[in-house]
């Protein structure tokens, strides 16, 4: 089974199993990594914002316009920012590294 690494807000690296076909958001939830995902992956918020390690960002499918629209609203955006719900695990992504941003904005909580 592929594996991936989350770098948490305090810098801790969490190396976890990453089942094929699950999104980075779903993998985070499966392992108790603190990513919110307020809209449960329906592209209606930016609370699953992650920063992809630059070594991996070119290997991902390009973000759709809808994903870019949601990223517009994310806090702490960086060049390789993506939404965790839109990255789906494949064999090619075995070893993927993403970092959690310092803050998120949940528009649902106002």
């Amino acid at each position: 089974m592929p594996r991936m690494t989350f770098i948490e807000r305090d810098g801790t690296r969490r190396d976890v199993e990453a089942p094929l076909g699950l999104s980075v958001l779903e993998i985070a939830h499966k392992h108790g990594v603190d990513i919110e995902g307020a809209c449960e992956g329906s592209l209606a918020c930016s609370t699953c914002h992650v920063i992809v390690d630059p070594a991996w960002s070119d290997k991902l499918a390009k973000a759709t316009e809808d994903e870019e629209d949601m990223l517009d609203l994310a806090f702490g955006l960086e060049k390789t920012s993506r939404l965790g719900c839109q990255i789906v695990m494949t064999e090619a992504l075995d070893g993927l590294v993403v970092r959690l941003p310092q803050a998120t904005r949940n528009v649902m909580n106002g």
Partner: protein, 388 residues
């Protein structure tokens, strides 16, 4: 001396234009009857106001070849220019972008020059390029400046004093080739010359309502989505307008801007030759009566309604004092309170003396042939009196 008009003749349409009565009619219901907050999506009145805002967004988008959701409403072109320039720089700094150069042109509006200059304190490198004597930016001069990796290039579509039209498509291509963002302050260009932000490959465009027969206090910023252009907002707030411009939207003003855009799109093709004919008539009459009159800026790359002329002897101030029934100006309204000669004219190579003998004449939608006749006769008569 020509017959005195019973109200002042207004030939300063680059300072501002009168609100078109059709624009005012479109705005009126949105003050007292349909006053709801367009962000109140929970009730019918709010949703109606929201729909009116979105219709205006579509009308303005159609005028410049944008998608409606690429437009952010603002208070006017000054705010749009500030958001575009400072917002692009702040965002770039936040994501660790290393490009630090920001390039603009000596003849830009003050708010662009000042926004770019303000970035120096944030660690950016402002560069101000000269123009040719005809007022146009040489693409080779831009290309040379962009040999240093550049974050943003800002070049106005149409100059507010000379009416000179820059080759935006050509300049944007130079910026794209160098990997820089391209912003244009199109306050004087929208609705006057055809603009297509997609075809011209422009990333950011500032728009003003009151230069196109709409109300004062409203404008817009085009922010490209494909490829995505990101800006850091200057205002904190409720996240309206894609988070870029928080604050309750002024529905009546936005409806007016939309209607003004619709009228401009429908009438621009017929209006431009009509204004050009009036402008050419005025110039012909002035040249016949005032030998030595000089036109500043390109005669061909120029909007139809603008004339910028240097008189041989009389100062602009003396001419305006001698013809109080005529509303013209010495330079941009924003800078004319200063006694300093126009920096735009000096950038074209005019001496301080020549700049001081120069009038900006702006012909608009409501200018009549009689207005032109009065202006020509009165200015020529005043010039002879002052000369004598």
């Amino acid at each position: 001396m020509p017959l005195r008009p019973n109200r002042p003749v207004y030939l300063d349409n680059q300072a501002t234009t009168p609100c078109d009565p059709r624009v005012l009619q479109a705005m009126l219901p949105w003050f007292c009857e349909q006053f709801a907050n367009p962000h109140s999506v929970e009730h019918a009145m709010g949703r109606q106001a929201g729909a009116a805002v979105e219709q205006a967004r579509e009308q303005l988008a159609a005028l410049i070849g944008a998608e409606p959701r690429e437009l952010v409403f603002t208070s006017g072109a000054t705010e749009s220019n500030n958001i575009a320039i400072k917002g692009a720089a702040c965002y770039a700094a936040a994501v660790g972008e290393t490009r630090r150069r920001v390039v603009t042109v000596a003849t830009e509006h003050k708010c662009v020059l000042e926004s770019v200059a303000d970035l120096r304190a944030e660690g950016f490198e402002p560069v101000m390029l000269p123009v040719r004597p005809d007022g146009l930016l040489d693409p080779a001069v831009l290309a040379e400046a962009l040999e240093v990796p550049t974050l943003l290039v800002s070049v106005m579509a149409v100059n507010n004093e000379t009416g000179v039209v820059q080759d935006l498509a050509g300049l944007a291509a130079v910026a794209r080739h160098a990997g820089a963002l391209f912003h244009t302050d199109a306050a004087q260009g929208v609705g006057k010359v055809p603009l297509d932000v997609a075809a011209m490959d422009i990333d950011l465009t500032s728009i003003s309502g009151h230069k196109i027969y709409g109300p004062k206090g409203v404008g817009a910023l085009y922010v490209r989505r494909r490829p995505r252009v990101r800006l850091a907002p200057l205002f904190s707030g409720g996240g309206q307008e894609r988070g870029l411009r928080s604050g309750t939207l002024p529905v009546p003003l936005i409806v007016g801007l939309g209607e003004a855009a619709r009228l401009a799109q429908a009438e621009m093709a017929a209006e431009a030759p009509r204004l050009a004919a009036l402008r050419d008539r005025l110039l012909e009459r002035l040249q016949a009566m005032v030998p030595g009159l000089v036109v500043n800026g390109s005669r061909t790359a120029r909007i139809a309604g603008n004339l910028n002329v240097t008189f041989p002897t009389a100062t602009a101030a003396a001419l305006m004092a001698a013809v109080p029934e005529l509303c013209v100006s010495t330079g941009s309204a924003c800078s004319s309170a200063e006694l300093e000669p126009s920096y735009v004219l000096r950038a074209l190579g005019l001496s301080d003396g020549a700049a001081g003998r120069t009038l900006r004449i702006g012909i608009g939608r409501f200018t009549s042939p009689a207005d032109i006749e009065f202006a020509a006769t009165a200015l020529a008569a005043a010039h002879s009196r002052i000369e004598a």
